[in-house]
């Protein structure tokens, strides 16, 4: 079991209201990602769930029991830190065994569980090494191993991949997703990277300034963002926002169109513009186009679209995919 419920949870540091009031339900077995720009309170929220910070108000319920006042060690949660936080003076084996030792398990049982975890995470050859003798990816695996051996009711990940290089990050992302499918344990994952959020999550919680902007599945957020913030944060490259006359024609204060929903042509289209920057990624080409009367618009096309800075192109937004927002930034 691993359900977590936050009821009117708030956190104040001195004068600063980091989290005004949050209500959230995390169901057993869900992979929930907290995403948002830095300083939005996502890590604080995770630390409140972990018990590493005390709440200033509200209740945290884990598996139906009030855990608000419980110490971190009593909450049955495991955490993977950004810095890995391995015990530098212990071997990999002892690092992974540590939570089991703390639980007072007997030696034979500990050894068996550590070996199991090491096999799952491909750490078998490194059990006698010290953390400083491992690479970043291996350290991250040890941290995950330490979290999985004790079979917690939920895993908490605090930006676990930010210290890894890009290629390794993609691998670890897949490994963590596979782990979730195997273990079917609740995972709460904090990241500022919306790609990680989109690829891993069952449910994404978008946070901004300590408030939840929207909760939903990755595609829900992509297709129907509730407001300008979510619309701009989810999706890469960012959604184009257009104000003024073009928006007013559609009875909106602002309209949004994703780069992938703009049709590019060298001959004709609704909007005419000049290419300022062309980014050729091979599979895709992103064009940053200065459109007359609108401003900069980003458009995506397939990798074969030959265009360079200075070229004139025509853009046609897909009318069915246009998002409309009112004055206060809410989706209409």
């Amino acid at each position: 079991m691993g359900s977590i419920t936050l009821q009117k949870v708030s956190k104040v540091f001195g004068e600063a209201k980091v989290i005004p009031s949050i209500d959230l339900d995390i169901r057993d077995g869900e992979f929930v990602v907290f995403v948002g720009p830095s300083g939005c309170g996502k890590s604080t929220l995770l630390r409140l769930i972990a018990g590493l910070e005390d709440v200033s108000g509200g209740k945290i319920v884990i598996d139906g029991k009030d855990a608000t006042e419980k110490a971190p060690s009593e909450r049955g949660l495991a955490m993977v830190f950004q810095s890995y936080a391995l015990y530098p003076h212990m071997s990999v084996r002892n690092n992974i065994a540590f939570p089991l030792k703390m639980a007072g398990m007997d030696k034979a049982e500990i050894d068996r569980k550590v070996d199991d975890a090491a096999r799952v995470l491909n750490l078998g050859d490194y059990l006698d090494r010290k953390p400083r003798q491992l690479s970043g990816g291996q350290r991250q695996r040890v941290a995950i191993g330490r979290a999985i051996v004790r079979q917690p009711s939920a895993f908490l990940f605090d930006e676990p991949l930010s210290n890894l290089d890009a290629a390794l990050r993609v691998n670890m992302r897949i490994e963590i997703s596979e782990l979730h499918q195997q273990l079917k344990t609740t995972m709460v994952y904090v990241t500022h990277d919306q790609v990680e959020a989109m690829t891993m999550a069952d449910k994404i919680v978008v946070l901004n300034r300590g408030n939840i902007e929207q909760v939903g599945s990755p595609l829900e957020l992509y297709r129907s963002p509730r407001n300008l913030f979510v619309a701009g944060f989810i999706g890469s490259p960012k959604m184009n926002f257009i104000k003024g006359q073009n928006a007013a024609q559609m009875n909106a204060h602002t309209i949004g169109i994703r780069p992938e929903h703009v049709l590019l042509s060298t001959e004709s289209g609704d909007w005419k513009g000049r290419v300022m920057v062309a980014e050729h990624l091979g599979s895709d080409t992103f064009l940053h186009v200065d459109v007359e009367g609108i401003g900069m618009v980003t458009a995506r096309s397939n990798g074969d679209f030959a265009s360079k800075a200075g070229d004139t192109v025509y853009l046609t937004p897909d009318k069915t995919r246009i998002h409309k927002f009112n004055e206060s930034g809410l989706a209409i």
Binding site: A50, L52, P72, L77, M79, F81, P88, M102, R146, R150
Partner: protein, 276 residues
């Protein structure tokens, strides 16, 4: 751009390093050699380096004139005692400041350090009077108290810098892993803090061992440590270089041996924070 290191440059640097090393070591070597000379050889001009009549007479003379062992024991009690008590007070203090700092932590640290900026002689008279009135003059207890207090700022600072280097996330990880406060301290904190505590301990024993101002001013005979023992040989009735050297050698030998065997810890302690 890498700097080109030529052979010539290397030779020069090595020569300078050796020259400096010898320059620093020479007084100690000279003291050691003089301690085996007769008083006449000791003041001979030109000075004799190795070819003199070697004698251990000074050592037996020094031993018979004053009780080396009693001074030695005083030094041991005072330096170890003050360091241990200092650590017991400083560990929680440094701990609190490193792991639960407040707005005032930096000020508190600076204030502690500022007490080391005043020349000790400024506090001599009040402390002397307090010691006299409370019967602490010429007692080991008195010296342990005063050395604990004067070295406390340094102990707190050293420990603080060590503890600062222990990442808070590791302690949080231990908490998440189900460790109680006691287990967290035993299994995680202590093993990580021990090297820092050890080098602080060593450095402070050496500082306390060599402390001369307070030990000379607050003792007469009973509690006098080795510093007073050396000083007693530079007396107004005439200097006895050879005997003074023998006494000095006997006084610094124990701490030199301790330092030699704990070199690794000490170097780490002295350069701590200098190189990440």
């Amino acid at each position: 751009m890498a700097r080109k290191v030529t052979t010539q440059r290397k030779v020069i640097m090595t020569a300078i390093a050796w020259a400096l090393g010898i320059l620093i070591f020479f007084p100690i070597l000279w003291t050691f050699l003089t301690s085996f000379k007769s008083e006449a050889d000791a003041i001979a001009s030109p000075p004799q380096f190795l070819f003199f009549h070697w004698t251990t007479e000074n050592y037996s003379e020094v031993q018979s004139r004053s009780n080396y062992l009693s001074h030695f024991m005083n030094s041991v009690v005072i330096s170890f005692g003050s360091t241990l008590i200092g650590l017991i007070i400083a560990i929680p203090a440094a701990w609190a400041m490193a792991f639960a700092p407040t707005k005032r932590t930096k000020d508190v640290l600076m204030w502690m350090l500022s007490t080391k900026m005043m020349p000790p002689v400024g506090a001599l008279i009040p402390i002397y009077l307090m010691f006299r009135n409370s019967g602490l003059l010429d007692t080991r207890t008195g010296l342990v108290i005063v050395l604990t207090l004067i070295n406390l700022p340094i102990i707190v600072w050293m420990l603080y810098t060590y503890f600062k280097e222990i990442p808070g996330e590791i302690l949080e990880a231990a908490r998440m892993d189900g460790a109680s406060l006691v287990k967290e301290i035993v299994y995680v904190l202590t093993p990580m803090a021990v090297p820092g505590i050890a080098s602080t301990l060593l450095l402070n024993i050496i500082l306390a061992w060599n402390e001369a101002f307070w030990t000379l001013n607050l003792t007469a005979s009973k509690a006098a440590p080795l510093t007073a023992f050396i000083a007693s040989y530079s007396s107004p009735e005439g200097l006895f270089y050879a005997k003074l050297s023998a006494a000095s050698t006997m006084a610094i030998a124990p701490i030199l041996i301790l330092g030699w065997f704990s070199q690794k810890q000490l170097v780490r302690g002295l350069t701590f924070g200098a190189v990440k």
